[in-house]
Amino acid sequence: MSLLSKKDVALIKDPLADNNPITIQVLGICSALAITAELEASIVMAISVLFVLGVGNVVISLMRNIIPSKIRIIVQLIVVATLVIIVDLVLKAFAYELSKTLSVFVGLIITNCIIMGRFEAFALANDPWRSFLDGIGNSLGYGVILIIVGFFRELLGAGTLLGIPVLGDPIELTGLYQFGYENNGFMLLSPMALIVVGIIIWVQRSRNKALIED
């Protein structure tokens, strides 16, 4: 028996394409708008969500038979909040520089609807191993969209990638800028994230007609 059965593989692969949390389930849109002005922030957020959702799904799954259904949402919220605060404290003590980069994401992770959505829809009804795979799959699917949006917004908005100028210097007029190219400052504003996500949804649905709803 291999480590991952066919069903297990689907748990990871589906959210990457045909069941993507952002473009199909339409979860986690708020954070996709908030932090994708820069590629680096997108990557940091993707990794943070990967960790929190992976571990959180396992914790919720282990507790799934003892959580009172009346207060399950509060229990889920507490599990996410506790995880995020522990990570934040440990980073502050042992990786102070990194913690400063991450501080802005703490609130965004706790309120990320993907995390609550997966706890509620999957971890409460499945065993820890499959929940873990589901968590990894969904956060990867989320991360991929974040990174694509971050890539285009930083490239077209600021002419840089990961802070490195790739199109030349806009003030000294080198590279592309000497031909009259201008950065599109509008790309840095939140509405453009929605438009980029919209274009991704459009491309995805035109390639796979089964995804189109009536």
Binding site: A41, L89, A158, L189
Partner: protein
């Protein structure tokens, strides 16, 4: 039949146990990590102050502090005096001045009490003097703060900006080199009176060649954070004017 986990007593007991477990876990963690975190913050203050007077490990276009190992030694070497200034410009020496919490002092001033203004006098290897003041204000989402190094005429010699939760890619860019370096050489005074430095949109001087216009170029998409920077410079650095007036006499 009602499930065991649906009963009210079960729900209540579960909630109480969960709160106790999570609460004590977090309290224990926070308490045991506190000394390390405080030490990190202390070293960071030293790094910030040194950065403002140009003692840093900047590479290319990225801002880098001196390492935490070097910071205490360099701080003792380059910061010659730590002062606490009063609103009428009187200064007293205080070797713990860098630990003064600007946030608490601002709250004191609001209640009508005397605010302690920390000022650090640094001297680099060529003997040039830097007067470094910590300031604090509000950005779009949360607090922003800075360490501004000036000469005796209140011309900015260096600045370090930081923030708690500004938007990455927009307001958070106040801690980028291109923004912080724009302040170097800018005048805070205008025709003999204090004017501050305005983070200006639609600046006629994007390359920032004119250092006496009391303006630097704003960051696109970060209007509120930029306004916060202007406001904190205007309100907090103004308090140091009496000290500099006394200094010249």
């Amino acid at each position: 039949m009602e499930k065991r986990t649906d009963k009210n007593t079960y729900t209540l007991i579960f909630a109480i146990i969960m709160v106790l477990v999570v609460g004590s876990l977090l309290a224990y963690l926070a308490a045991s990590l506190k000394p390390t975190i405080t030490e990190n913050q202390r070293l960071e203050k030293q790094q910030n102050i040194l950065y403002a007077m140009g003692i840093n490990n900047n590479e290319g276009t990225s801002a880098k502090f001196v390492t935490t190992q070097e910071a205490p030694e360099l701080f003792n070497k380059f910061i010659k005096q730590q002062l606490v200034v009063t609103s009428d410009g009187q200064a007293t020496e205080n070797n713990e001045a860098y630990l003064i919490d600007v946030k608490k002092e601002q709250a004191k001033a609001k209640k009508g009490e005397e605010r302690q203004l920390p000022l650090f006098v640094g001297e680099d290897e060529s003997g040039k003097k830097y007067y470094i003041a910590p300031i604090r204000g509000k950005g779009l989402w949360d607090a922003i703060w800075a360490y501004v190094a000036m000469d005796e005429n209140m011309v900015v010699q260096g600045a370090y900006f930081d923030h708690k939760g500004e938007t990455p890619g927009l307001g958070a860019n106040i801690k980028q080199r291109y923004f912080m370096d724009d302040f170097i050489g800018e005048h805070l005074m205008y025709n003999g009176s204090f004017k501050g430095i305005n983070v200006a949109k639609g600046n006629a001087d994007p390359k920032n060649d004119d250092k006496t216009d009391n303006e630097v170029d704003a960051i696109a998409g970060a209007t509120i954070t930029g306004d916060g920077v202007s406001a904190m410079i205007r309100s907090d650095l103004k308090l140091y004017v009496p000290y500099f007036t006394n200094l010249k006499q």
